[in-house]
């Protein structure tokens, strides 16, 4: 059985299945270099951490790029903001992509700055037609500047706006369609929002066009009273593993990434989570073991 057989849905041409990757974090640099990246089929680097002039982080990123495919994941494109797109940031991001040749780039469906002040958070957008038009136009401008399609990621949220016109899945689907961009499907974020707002995570996944899904994110939230917070400081929860199995069964093999950003565990534990994701994909679909497309 070959990849994409048995009814797997169409994949985006620029986002082939890379396997299961791990978010590149400085804590793991020594282990990654020592084991030549074994355990990760690809790496995802936070773009902003490498928008610097030189030094160890860029040297390590170059070494990692030699070990496995790389994708760049940003937090400051500010696709939903009302401030103008940051031309300087875009220029630096384009230069970083030119230097390290990532398989693709992604950022979040949110806003992070207003009036020149950066809040450094993934802030929520009202799910309205106005937001769809606004964000899609900015995504198109970014794609034109970078000369390639990007993937946009659904975020966890803690508030909902009166007057929302679309469900979260419909909102993400509409923007990706109008912008002609890819989707980074964060299943933990859909799970968190299902908990926080009473959404249906499976319905949100079903609303998306599979041919636009570049990648899946898996991470673990923390609890704050009655709410779940997207802190990436816990293991992937059982409910999210179950959601992942259902999504993979429907979508086919999708490049999947394990994300930790705080209380980052030893490399071996992250590798074990990646192995579990790989097992789920390979149990459902026949794919080249530890495929490393370059």
């Amino acid at each position: 059985m070959t990849e994409g057989g048995r009814g797997a849905l169409p994949r985006p041409p620029e986002a082939p299945y890379l396997g299961v990757g791990i978010g590149l974090r400085p804590r793991h640099y020594p282990e990654i270099v020592a084991c030549a990246g074994a355990g990760a089929d690809f790496f995802e680097a936070i773009s902003e951490n490498y928008l610097i002039a030189g030094g160890r982080p860029l040297r390590i990123l170059g070494e990692v790029r030699e070990l496995a495919p790389l994708v760049l994941h940003g937090v400051s494109l500010d696709l939903g903001a009302s401030d103008p797109l940051d031309a300087s940031y875009l220029r630096e991001l384009a230069a970083l992509a030119q230097r390290f040749q990532p398989a693709w780039l992604s950022d979040h469906l949110c806003w992070t700055a207003q009036g020149g002040a950066h809040l450094h958070d993934l802030l929520p957008l009202p799910h309205t037609e106005e937001s769809v038009r606004h964000v899609a136009a900015r995504v198109r401008a970014v794609q034109e500047r970078l000369g390639r399609r990007i993937a946009i990621e659904n975020v966890s949220s803690y508030v909902r706006f009166a007057g929302d016109e679309l469900s979260e899945g419909e909102f993400l689907a509409a923007i990706s369609r109008e912008a002609d961009c890819g989707i980074l499907l964060d299943l933990n974020n859909f799970f968190v929002n299902a908990h926080n707002h009473g959404d249906d995570a499976d319905a949100a996944v079903a609303a998306l066009d599979p041919a636009r899904i570049f990648q899946i994110h898996l991470a673990g939230p923390s609890e704050d009273g009655a709410l779940l917070i997207d802190t990436h400081d816990h293991p992937v929860r059982d409910e999210v593993w179950a959601l992942f199995e259902r999504a993979i069964a429907k979508l086919g093999p999708v490049s999947t990434l394990i994300e930790w950003d705080d209380l980052i565990p030893p490399w071996e534990r992250v590798v074990a989570e990646a192995a579990r994701a790989r097992e789920i994909i390979e149990k459902a679909w026949s794919v080249p073991a530890r495929a490393r497309a370059t």
């Binding site: 951490n49 030189g54 030094g55 940031y89 508030v159 009473g198």
Partner: protein, 264 residues
Amino acid sequence: MSTPLVSRQQEFSAWVMAREAPATTLGLLGDARASSETRLGVYRNAYAGRIIATLRDDYPALRSALGAAPFDALAADYLHAHPSQHPSLRYAGARLPAFLAEHEAVRSVRASAPWAADLAHLELAVTDAFDAADAQALSRADLTALPPQHWDALALALMPGAQLPTFAWPVRALRAAHDAEQPLAFDALAPASERVLVWRRDERVLHRECSAEEHALLAHVARGVRFGALCALAAEARGEVAGAAFAASLLARWVEDEVLVTCS
């Protein structure tokens, strides 16, 4: 142009960044699981928490010296006065040394910890050197290969990110003690002028004290100077022969320390 989306983001960001939580909840929805105040509070806490955590990482010795709670209070004052202006958190704390040195809101910190601005300045210099541009260091082999008649014209320049701060307090010892996981003896600190060179070598940021004479000559190197001119500058205080010998000894040390870059 003001649209519903722009207005909402203006109100939302003002609410999140305000020192005290405003009474309004921006027309956001609460439910049985959590009120709109609780839900908005997640963003308020994350905003301050994330940036203050970054400042803790960027100014570790200052935090140790001031204490965790006073440092966090300082960071909150700073964040209120200087919201982040850059897409990367890396630069969120760049104005903390000037804030500590000048801002009215932290006059009491200056009174109780008059060395704090200098220590912050040193720690910012360390951060800036850490990810400064890469460059090839001028080596002993480069000098050996240089014909004697070309020495005067040898162009000298500092490594990218190298800095030459002057402090009124001997704060290098505080940062060095922190890096060595030793107790910080800041209670016994007495004012003493300290001229410092901060630079990166082999991916490690180093700092050492310089004499006033070396520091002044390094300042010329920072602006770009040829070795012949450096000798002439050294000769002003020491005379021609001793000045040239002194400049040569400094050059040897700087090359050994990989403080200089090769210039075409």
